[in-house]
Symmetry: C2
Subunit: 474 residues, 2 copies
Amino acid sequence: MLHTLLQRFLSSSVFVSSPTQISYFSSIRFDPDRFPMAANTISLSISSSSPKTLHSLQTPRGGLIPPPTSISFPKSLSLSSTAISRSRVRAGPSQLINEPANAMTSSPIPTIVEVDLGNRSYPIYIGAGLLDQSHLLQRHVHGKKVLVVTNERVAPLYLDKTVHALTFGNPNLTVESVILPDGEKYKDMDTLMKVFDKAIESRLDRRSTFVALGGGVIGDMCGYAAASYLRGVNFIQIPTTVMSQVDSSVGGKTGINHRLGKNLIGAFYQPQCVLVDTDTLNTLPDREMASGLAEVIKYGLIRDADFFEWQEQNIEALLARDPAALAYAIKRSCENKADVVSQDEKESGLRATLNLGHTFGHAIETGFGYGEWLHGEAVAAGTVMAVDMSYRLGWIDDSIVERVNNILKRAKLPTTPPESMTVSMFKSIMAVDKKVADGLLRLILLKGPLGNCVFTGDYDREALDATLRAFSKS
Amino acid sequence: MLHTLLQRFLSSSVFVSSPTQISYFSSIRFDPDRFPMAANTISLSISSSSPKTLHSLQTPRGGLIPPPTSISFPKSLSLSSTAISRSRVRAGPSQLINEPANAMTSSPIPTIVEVDLGNRSYPIYIGAGLLDQSHLLQRHVHGKKVLVVTNERVAPLYLDKTVHALTFGNPNLTVESVILPDGEKYKDMDTLMKVFDKAIESRLDRRSTFVALGGGVIGDMCGYAAASYLRGVNFIQIPTTVMSQVDSSVGGKTGINHRLGKNLIGAFYQPQCVLVDTDTLNTLPDREMASGLAEVIKYGLIRDADFFEWQEQNIEALLARDPAALAYAIKRSCENKADVVSQDEKESGLRATLNLGHTFGHAIETGFGYGEWLHGEAVAAGTVMAVDMSYRLGWIDDSIVERVNNILKRAKLPTTPPESMTVSMFKSIMAVDKKVADGLLRLILLKGPLGNCVFTGDYDREALDATLRAFSKS
């Protein structure tokens, strides 16, 4: 974590680090490009269990920072890594040795998955009871005011707990909240304006922090509001559904729907951190639980055959909310997502593969009416359609078709679109999909052995038509 | 220009260049981070007078670009610089030697001011008749569809000309347009939605280009729409007022107003180029002309005393629309703006100094009603208030106060706020200004000899109160 925290402020060239261990350093130069010059005081704190200020720097009057400055840290400082995650994703919590914990409760060390985006890198904390560890949130709060964006379903369950975590031992922080109506059909400009209204009325300035507390709709709207408010303020994601914990809260895609299509207005805007408290899943309805699993299954199909096979062994355990199974599925999903996003933040190519089943799925959501089906339900049916089309193209063998259908059915997810969807509805809605380029619709399709996919506009149009005809009336 | 065009696509480390001359290169490696991988074909063209395709690259199927690739250019290629601008801003048009011009008309070489922002650098073209030089616009258009965003006043004057410039010799390009009502009071979310509606109905995809044709309101709204549509598409600024040509079209600040404050919702989002055709000023109303000069005067006061002194000699020539005087004032203003933006794109400190007079001015615009006063008129009165406060603090001598009042009066600009503004109106509106940080209002004030300013929250509150009392009723 030290590596992560410092990286946001400092030139990466001046401190020695390995992915999971930082042993020692004596001086650091501030890189003006990465340094938040609007601040009047910068404090550097480290430790996962007890925040400790190592150094405060008073910025000069006027907010203008002079050319690179050096500060010194105690030479006796020693840090060690206490956990190592999968090797391909940079991760690992660090602790100050011999420091007593002073958080609200005993602090199990969370799993940390790092999203590696240079000076916009951030951690995903995953674990049970993380909302009880106030320091995890507080270390990522900028400024003296926070706006929590949540909805009518989540607020009674977790708003008080979140406010407590933000303000415990931190009495100078003011926390405002805005409670939006719940559901995909409210992911629109009118609802977004309520967030801006509240932020302005509460006089939140550029040094404020927005906190998204809820599922994917709340995360997308709060993130886009944070991207746009005063041309950009910091924000934190606290996802409370499987769908948002394994997918939508990670990677910086934010936005709202337009009546003609999903997520057509938005921004790429990364959070300061994502905090996944798996205890919040205890209150999740069964249908929402299943919906989230559609995205978990997606990761296996597009890039992680081992994970898919693990899911085939454990899908009932996931539905039964077995804590260990859920924690593993969330961690491995986040690792997959972080790996993809780190390589292709703005969706030039690779990142689009995360949209397996989504082009068909978005058409279902838009055509059938926002909120009638949950996002994951539409993605499940869309995935079956993408897999069907891949098979018609001769790109996969029939065993994959069968396995996909089986696991989705076991997950209690639909494998066909609603009966009211027609071929022409699919075609007209898919024509405004974000993956259209110069008039050509590109799709994510499976190709080759399990765990492989392509993102391509180079396919036989007849296969697409045949799939649409097979799954919807003309 | 070659340098600029290539820089957007290529790793900067692989071709040799000086600011105003590029002599030769034989091979180039594509940097995947900067390469627009969504494209199916990339053409590299150079020359300011005649677009010539040097090389086309077919991207692999699926839009996924393989690891860095090399292509070769003809070894005989020779380029030379024909103009050198002021040394502190990187600029200078280049031409292919011995190439006949083939634009729509004879092509006077535009002045080019470069906004240096790494791989988001872009040129500002300044000159008479530039809308007749189709290649200037066309080289910056991405994709096959363009949406021109303009208003009811500008459309009858310049929309046909702009469409012609975009499509001349380029029959595959489809140009749509959306014509918004004119005025600051329409710079709101409802009007912005008309842009999204048109873009979606026209099925513009991620490879489309938005073109802002109009003054500051159009540029701000079109830019924010481009930043948000499908999470970001390319856009071009064609400013048609002095205000937008010298200030708002340059530097990537985009956004809309909220009923409680100006520009509170928006994004930092840079255009592909800014095209300033000074002929468009021939149709500008006198009041708009004067409004723009408020920003020209600002540059002199905050950082360019020589320019201020030049303005004192030439203010009547500017009001009389002397072409040479206007061209010089626009160029020098853009150079000042480009220099500041290059150093501080996201307004961490230095860039805030461009807001001299704007905190008071925004309060006037918001309190008095959007559109009642033009932006520059409010800035002029606000500048007098900032200068008055600077004098009360003992930071400038009275000769500067007098010179500022004199030049603004000669420019036919107001030097006091509207009579209806009260001290409490100023205070409540200024409390939500974007320059407030942790509750502290920071202001741009003059300090020292002419041409020097500070951006600070460290001033005697009594001086602010005294200025507010002197300029508005309690």
